[in-house]
Point group: C3
Chain length 338, copies 3
Amino acid sequence: MMYPKESNEVSSFMLHQTVISAKVGTSTFMEALAANGTTNIQTSVTGVTASKRRFIDDRRDQPFDKRLRFSVRQTESAYRYRDIVVRKQDGFTHILLSTKSSENNSLNPEVMKEVQSALNTAAADDSKLVLFSAVGSIFCCGLDFIYFIRRLTDDRKKESTKMAEAIRNFVNTFIQFKKPIIVAVNGPAIGLGASILPLCDVVWANEKAWFQTPYTTFGQSPDGCSSLTFPRIMGLASANEMLFSGRKLTAQEACAKGLVSQVFWPGTFTQEVMVRIKELVTCNSVVLEESKALVRNIMKVDLEQANEKECEVLKKIWGSAQGMDSMLKYLQRKIDEF
Amino acid sequence: MMYPKESNEVSSFMLHQTVISAKVGTSTFMEALAANGTTNIQTSVTGVTASKRRFIDDRRDQPFDKRLRFSVRQTESAYRYRDIVVRKQDGFTHILLSTKSSENNSLNPEVMKEVQSALNTAAADDSKLVLFSAVGSIFCCGLDFIYFIRRLTDDRKKESTKMAEAIRNFVNTFIQFKKPIIVAVNGPAIGLGASILPLCDVVWANEKAWFQTPYTTFGQSPDGCSSLTFPRIMGLASANEMLFSGRKLTAQEACAKGLVSQVFWPGTFTQEVMVRIKELVTCNSVVLEESKALVRNIMKVDLEQANEKECEVLKKIWGSAQGMDSMLKYLQRKIDEF
Amino acid sequence: MMYPKESNEVSSFMLHQTVISAKVGTSTFMEALAANGTTNIQTSVTGVTASKRRFIDDRRDQPFDKRLRFSVRQTESAYRYRDIVVRKQDGFTHILLSTKSSENNSLNPEVMKEVQSALNTAAADDSKLVLFSAVGSIFCCGLDFIYFIRRLTDDRKKESTKMAEAIRNFVNTFIQFKKPIIVAVNGPAIGLGASILPLCDVVWANEKAWFQTPYTTFGQSPDGCSSLTFPRIMGLASANEMLFSGRKLTAQEACAKGLVSQVFWPGTFTQEVMVRIKELVTCNSVVLEESKALVRNIMKVDLEQANEKECEVLKKIWGSAQGMDSMLKYLQRKIDEF
């Protein structure tokens, strides 16, 4: 197992945490790893100001009980969520995809429910905004096809309705969320993982991230309101090339087309994001919410309708023999490629 | 007459076709030339996969009756249409502007009716999509001013109504078309030739193409729903610069502003387009139509209204002495330039 | 006092004007300076065509009465307006911000009323369009905070209503204006100075200009319909980065994102703008107005609603102790920076 050089201090610290977590009784090595990803991100960020770095360094020499308290807080999140990591920070909530019930941070109803639950908590507490990102080198690979196909094979009619419903609710949670959602796209964002971005407010991307919505390729129609938001953001010609032809955009291209607010170099990505987040949380929370309402309310009805219609079509396609067949063929091709 | 080297085999083949077409009795040399343009494009494309190239090469040694059958199919299109070439292909319909009743693929009611008729046929048959392009080095120079002025001089009030009506119907055919329309812009797209692009779904452009809507210069107001689509696609500042100041965009600029999906080098343009078209026609036709419906339906009413209003204004301007005068002055300036 | 070399002839001419203005009785040296700025711009522009340059040169040798007539026309504008310079030209009206009641061309109710008055005059006379720019190196720094805070400290409830009302009316004048408004952004455009741009029709910017709407930073919500226009023009991700995070855009970036139509080099900026303005005023005025109506009318209701809602929120924020506090803190920080 390799750690980047800069997080050496953290990795040694994490070993402690793993042991402690194990004593608490619910944590596995995987969970520690997930938590590690988080801590890792934050360490590199807290390194921005020299004073904070000193604080981290000092902490290594602090008495054991302080460390314990910290790791317990980490563990609470790990206890409550399996597929995401949630860190309540000063003024904001950080939600990170780190799925264990799916591969590559892909979305099944269980992952989606956890994100919805974390968003609902952040809506009710004193968080001024939500930072949404992912642990590892992938942001989100869209729908968890393995999960979906398994279910559809059981009972196509019933399961296609349930699946469409799960997506509808997940997407609607983003539409209705009143506090700003800032996304830090750390890596590839595919399908629903890309289409959900315009439902968030500011999108900062790592240079290494890329964006693709190859819906027609796997016999699916657009989701996440992309049939509405993509044309509005980048014009019909570009939107349709993504939605129909599955064109892949680099981070820079996605930025030029308006899907991404700004692109940062991998080396300083988390740092750049965190500096801006800390600036944002100094703002008046009423001003942030009212500003978001001004920007969003005019398109809310359109978004709700787009979500409804998209999920209607998905249900119809998944409920048909032809739709199932396209999805299976796509998966078969993907398996054959490896 | 010069042919590019790569189409030598086709040109010799075309000579046969010209002779045969002549026997059918309706074809002229110009028609053969138009058909030639088409075949030419397809030959260079079929060259993409080695196996298909072999097929073409073999064909040169095939018995004459096979060639006859092929040329008759070509001739059917030539028989039915004068100003366009229509090629029904596997999974899609290829419509090419190749006007004989106007210069530079410009649009008069007769050309427009042929395009509408070809679109209606493609809507009803098993085509999954339509590929729309043009023969030669020009895509479409907008309205056929020579035709329009000739008519307006006869009976301004009556003809301005008829002209506006022809444009209204032409534009509406694009608005209502349910299958994806892919445009391959081979050269300059001016006026209605440019404004119609956002009514299509994917727009691929040759590096050499350029885009201009100098409406105010010839005393006209926007058409083809550009008063609605251009601001939505590229923002008001850029849209108005095109609509008011007649700013000319290069293919790269049009791509950066969202009017064009992607730009390809002249040498590989048809090839790149055809590879993507062939990929697209492997998709489920229900998925393609449903996806287009999701993207388009939300803006359909707006497009219909924009079309109605634009044509109302055009009728009013063309019906006025001042409007006629502006158009005549513009033509005079153009003639003086040569 | 320094003049750029090219305007030497003007500056000597302006001395005359100052004397004459002084006789009229209302002009101060500052007013002459403002008018000078205008004349300066126009001189460099009229230099575009050699024939016109000759005209200017000749004018230096013309008898005094001609100069007198010209300077009186200048003085009329100076007499009528304190914070703007208005030049009625052949076919258009040139309105320049040149505030004396505020710093950096920032907007208080008095400045706004003058702009509205000049727009109303241009709406009624034979101007085909309005050219909107500013004297000096700054375009417009948004709201005049010093003015606003002074008033809010007096009577928060009453003054916040009055202020919101002033902005509402100012913005609405732009929304309702029927002739094209072309903006030449000579320098920084901040807050309302930037958000008003999409309510104009064509936006040409000097390379040196930059654009910023740091509303949340000074505890304010979006104004000038930017909550509607910014997302429509540049997509949500970029718009929100400007509206929430106060990201500053260079002229080139603003152009890439669609806020600006085209960027020109400082050395030829006025020249490039004037060439295009002169081209535009050769167009039929009916065509210009009808074209603007086609582009604008579909979004007019949305703009009116956005303006209403934005001003409602501003009134609410300014009327609260917290809102006042944020604004004061921001000003304090700004003062501390110097």
